[in-house]
């Protein structure tokens, strides 16, 4: 590759941290990036993707916690050993996963943009550069007066890209820039990155989502355990991914276990900081759910999907409408509700109490609600562990000693051991990497069949849930905009939002 601008040779990062000294986070990485190239970098979590990003950006403090060796050459100049602050602008910039947190919360985005311009551009061209960057990303000027918390995640991420555009770096490292965003925002961000690429910057996109890479990138690199294992061009139309999962048997469609009628809920007064407290989060949701059925709830972030889940399990009060459980039960007690519906959270690492062992975690709901005695509880726990495909070796482990997939399985076991009528899974796989994600979905489907539970799958990503669902419910701004058989909705989406979601999904 003669026209490469970034040459990485033998890049190695070794931990100096006590207890893990000598462990290599990056092991002799070699690759190069050509000007204007769009490179995708994927790999399981912990494979060293983010470390590579930090190393390229000069944000690893050489000598303190880790030592960095090898060479990073940009346009023939050695970058290694130069902290980010001492580099001449315009070389490598970076954007990161959580776009709202990535901007200084107490300053307007305009002032942050201008600060970057001041540092890297001559006095005369600052204003015009900022203007042109904004307009090329189709961001309105009014955003400049706002604070990050007043913007959506997608807007924030595009502001960050705009910052990069102002200084037009040779290379932009984008570390999971879209994984916290819904499908629609994701698409806007990827388009913004592409605009930047068209202006001449090379882009290294780090993502666990191989479909995303397949759709947008010229070249795909895969890392595993600190090594670069795959480095190849992406051929048109290739969608990397594992085996397809089986569609579950359709529900029998009789007697609803859950009936929602015009459910209304308001944002918590002390809740999110977006200034919308007291406003409606759910503006009249009506649907029914039969035993054994799988319902996919889809919509952009902020549409009320999660609030719906929280209302159903009693974490959030409903301010209007009716929710009937298994017939006529309208105001279940804490215990009754626990046996009606259970929720599996998005982030498995955070949904398990860190100071409890696996044994205690799974035993807790059983001891509370069932007649299982303390002597039998161990067998019961073993039974449920086996059902989620884990062995009893994990009995005395703490959550942080488990992998993400294991954590999610424990969380599922905890939810289903009460054998609830309805299992709700809020983005159950978004935080998992590709392989674990599919295994988890398979597990959910399998358990649902075994126990004849109704399953509500919540996601912003149409494709990940529709494959296992019987029906789809599309939400927008607290309302149901489309509800129907999965196949029917996918084939003929009636609402523009559904169409947009579908379009974003297929690229």
């Amino acid at each position: 590759m003669s026209d490469s601008i970034l040459e990485v040779r033998d890049l190695t990062v070794t931990l100096r941290h006590r207890g893990a000294s000598g462990r290599r986070l990056l092991d002799a990485i070699d690759f190069s990036v050509a000007a204007g190239e769009f490179v995708g970098l994927s790999g399981p979590s912990g494979s060293g993707k983010s470390t590579l990003a930090l190393a390229l950006l000069g944000l690893i403090d050489d000598g303190k916690q880790a030592s960095v060796s090898g060479s990073i050459e940009l346009n023939g100049g050695q970058l290694l050993g130069q902290p980010a602050a001492q580099r001449d602008g315009r070389c490598i910039a970076g954007i990161f996963q959580d776009p709202v947190a990535a901007l200084n919360p107490v300053r307007t985005v305009g002032s942050q943009l201008r600060e970057v311009a001041q540092r890297h551009l001559p006095r005369g061209s600052r204003q015009s550069q900022v203007q042109s960057a904004l307009s090329s990303l189709q961001l309105p000027d009014a955003l400049l007066q706002r604070y990050p918390f007043q913007l959506s995640g997608g807007q924030c991420q595009r502001i960050a890209i705009c910052m990069a555009m102002v200084i037009s770096p040779a290379v932009l490292i984008a570390d999971e820039p879209t994984s916290a965003l819904d499908t629609l925002s994701q698409q806007a961000v990827m388009q913004a990155l592409d605009v930047l690429r068209q202006q001449g910057s090379a882009i290294v996109l780090i993502s666990h989502d191989r479909r995303l890479i397949g759709r947008w990138c010229d070249r795909s690199m895969v890392m595993d355990a600190g090594r670069l294992t795959v480095n190849q061009a992406v051929s048109e139309g290739e969608l990397p991914g594992g085996p397809k999962y089986r569609k579950p048997a359709a529900s029998d469609g009789n007697s609803p276990v859950l009936r929602c009628h015009g459910v209304v809920a308001r944002h918590r007064a002390n809740g999110s900081s977006k200034g919308n407290r007291g406003s409606a989060a759910l503006a009249g949701i009506t649907f029914e759910l039969s035993a054994g059925e799988t319902l996919a709830v889809v919509g952009p972030s902020g549409c009320g999907k999660s609030t719906l889940a929280r209302v159903l399990v009693g974490l959030h009060p409903a301010s209007g409408g009716r929710i009937q459980w298994g017939g006529a039960l309208e105001r279940p007690s804490r215990r009754q509700r626990a046996r009606m519906a259970q929720l599996v959270f998005q982030n498995p690492a955070l949904s398990l109490s860190p100071t409890k062992t696996v044994m205690k975690l799974i035993a807790e709901p059983m001891l509370l609600h069932t007649t299982v005695s303390r002597s039998q509880v161990k067998d019961e726990v073993a039974k449920w562990l086996a059902r989620v495909g884990l062995s009893t070796e994990l009995f005395d482990r703490y959550p942080h000693q488990l992998s993400g997939g294991q954590q999610q399985r424990i969380a599922i076991a905890r939810a289903i051991c009460l054998e609830p009528r309805v299992l709700i899974a809020d983005e159950p796989v978004a935080a998992l990497d590709d392989d674990t994600r599919q295994a988890a979905l398979r597990l959910l489907a399998q358990i649902q069949v075994q126990h004849r539970m109704a399953l509500i799958l919540i996601s912003h990503d149409l494709s990940s849930v529709t494959k296992v669902s019987d029906r789809v419910l599309v939400m927008d701004a607290g309302r149901v905009v489309e509800l129907g058989e999965t196949a029917g909705v996918l084939a003929a989406p009636s609402h523009p939002l559904t169409q947009a979601l579908l379009a974003a999904d297929c690229g």
Binding site: D61, L315, R334, S351, L368
Partner: protein
């Protein structure tokens, strides 16, 4: 703080505890109050650190003071931390509701009254006794603990694992006891140690003002005695009290730091690479 330094701190603390246990078991430091020696006697084989004005053995007094300090520290530290943890967890869990309002109001009231004044007032109200001073300290020192635990509880309350416990049907009290408080463990240890530090330092000030622990001897009492002696160049009493006091406070403070940094490390899930 390195593990090595932490181990050093633990072993120093262990030495203090061993000395205190010796005092409690009657092995040494028993005759701290006998006025049998010479006035301001120097260092001798009978009196390793000399004697004070009325001829008491300064070494024995310093040893007994270790026990007094640990007694005061453990009692005040333990009770204030427990009270603060419970109150803070309740206030944080029911944020904005009446338990929170009442507790916030109470904390505000206690904060509004300067510590020394409040301590003196309680000590006077109950008659100048040790229990009064300890109570005064507990009554004021639970507040900062409660504020921190309240803030932490608010954070934990939105954690999926707490919500998951709610969904499973665990009662609020059990959630606080099983899922919230155990996860503030490092915070509580750090706060407990800091409360002990505050208690030990407050004891010196209160003794100096004549309202300290009255039943026995303490470093505060010794320092108060020595205020008059230092001017004339007699440092035995002053040093025999202030050095071990400094040592204990330093060790406790360092260990508090250690716990706090452990906690900070915990909350950063993605390891040491973060800047």
């Amino acid at each position: 703080m390195s593990r090595w330094a932490a181990q050093l701190c633990w072993s120093i603390l262990g030495t203090y505890v061993a000395i205190a246990v010796g005092v409690w078991c009657g092995l040494w430091g028993q005759n701290y109050d006998l006025a049998g020696g010479p006035k301001w006697g120097g260092i001798s084989s009978d009196y390793w650190l000399g004697t004070n004005l009325i001829g008491q053995d300064i070494f024995a007094r310093s040893l007994t003071s270790v026990a007094t300090a640990l007694q005061t520290g453990l009692m005040v530290g333990g009770l204030a931390t427990m009270a603060g943890a419970l109150a803070g967890a309740c206030a944080g869990y029911w944020r904005g509701r009446w338990p929170d309002r009442i507790l916030l109001w109470l904390m505000g009231v206690i904060d509004a009254i300067p510590f020394v004044l409040l301590a003196a007032a309680i000590a006077y109200a109950l008659g100048a006794q040790f229990i009064a001073v300890a109570l005064a300290m507990i009554l004021t020192l639970w507040v900062p603990v409660a504020r921190l635990v309240r803030a932490e509880t608010q954070k934990l309350r939105t954690m999926p694992y707490v919500e998951s416990a709610q969904i499973i049907g665990v009662s609020p009290v059990l959630i606080i006891l099983r899922h919230i408080l155990p996860n503030t463990w490092h915070l509580l240890m750090a706060q407990g140690l800091l409360v002990m530090v505050a208690a030990l330092k407050a004891e010196v000030v209160l003794s100096f003002l004549g309202i300290g622990s009255q039943a026995s001897v303490s470093w505060g009492v010794m320092i108060a005695e020595s205020t008059q002696e230092v001017a004339s160049g007699r440092f035995n009493n002053f040093l025999a009290a202030s050095i071990p006091l400094f040592g204990l406070v330093f060790v406790l403070g360092s260990l508090a730091d250690f716990f706090q940094s452990r906690r900070a490390g915990d909350s950063r899930a993605s390891g040491p690479m973060q800047a």
